[in-house]
């Protein structure tokens, strides 16, 4: 065999390797879109848990207490937080690239109906609010 000449069986081996590599690459590219979705899932989940935790803390400290919160970075997405006083639930609804992601969490402390719409990294407050007519302490969100 001349120097620099490729043998047939080597080419064949290369072909089989290429087939395997194409397969793996194909799988990896389809994985990327899923990974992006899961990134948002995790952020929304983490944020909702933080909200439940911090609203309980604010309630425990008492009237007039405020905690400053920062919305997660959702790659340009928006986030909407709903405190539902009737069912006592915290609903976090994120919209990223026309896709919605939402989670409902039960709150351990009484909530006051309130809603905030936020952009990524925007500030808002969790406030302990005393309703004088009812004589009850509630937790609400405000910008």
């Amino acid at each position: 065999m001349k120097k620099g000449q490729l043998s047939l069986d080597l080419l064949f081996a290369v072909l089989l390797i290429i087939v395997t590599i194409t397969n793996i690459t194909y799988l990896a590219t389809s994985e990327i879109t899923h990974a992006e979705s899961f990134d948002t899932f995790t952020k929304v989940k983490l944020f909702s848990s933080t909200l439940v935790d911090h609203s309980a803390k604010v309630y425990a400290i008492g009237e007039g207490y405020k905690i400053r919160e920062v919305a997660p970075d959702l790659n340009g997405g928006t986030i909407r937080i709903i405190f539902d006083g009737t069912t006592n639930r915290i609903i976090v609804n994120a919209t990223v690239n026309d896709r919605s992601f939402w989670i409902t969490k039960n709150s351990t402390v009484p909530l006051c109906n309130s809603t905030v719409n936020l952009n990524s990294n925007e500030e808002f407050w969790i406030v302990a609010y005393y309703n004088t007519t009812e004589g009850m302490l509630y937790v609400k969100v405000e910008k």
């Binding site: 047939l8 087939v19 899961f38 039960n106």
Partner: protein, 156 residues
């Protein structure tokens, strides 16, 4: 004269060797692709099943068409983290049909496994038909000329 005859002889030997290599290729390639097909189907199903588990464990709803299939099952869980994971995968091949059994496991006994299993099953079928080169025909997955049947079970 002698020189040219020798030359022709080498060429003939070379052709013979090349013939053996080509026959080898013809024998190995189909079985290699067949094996590769089964391996990639199993890999697709495995990743898809663990994605379904991740979605259900996470508890975050989405209107993403890939995941919205799982939303009714997620609603039934009512905020509980089912701690689902893929326990094992079984494959069996009969002629042109591959049957893949996916067994998921959860530590909770109060979970309705039938709903979970059927939701995960339809998620995998839908996910594979949209993101991979498996096609959906009459409700069954087809890969080339091979029929792929998926069975999902949830165990404790």
């Amino acid at each position: 004269m002698l020189r040219s005859k020798n030359k022709a002889q080498t060429a003939l030997e070379m052709m013979f060797i090349a013939g053996i290599i080509l026959i080898g290729i013809a024998l190995v390639v189909p079985s290699y692709f067949e094996e590769n097909k089964l391996t990639s189907v199993v890999t697709y199903i495995r990743t898809s099943a663990s994605r379904a588990c991740d979605y259900l464990n996470m508890g975050v709803f989405s209107n993403d068409p890939r995941y919205s299939v799982l939303n009714p099952a997620l609603e039934r869980l009512n905020g509980l983290n089912p701690n689902l994971r893929v326990l094992r995968l079984g494959t069996s091949q009969i002629n042109n049909t591959i049957i893949i059994t996916v067994v998921l496991t959860t530590p909770y006994s109060a979970i309705d496994n039938e709903t979970l299993a059927s939701a995960v099953e339809s998620f995998i079928v839908h996910d594979l038909s949209t993101t991979t080169n498996l096609a959906l025909s009459n409700g069954t997955l087809v890969y080339g000329d091979t029929i792929v049947n998926i069975i999902v079970r949830v165990e404790r």
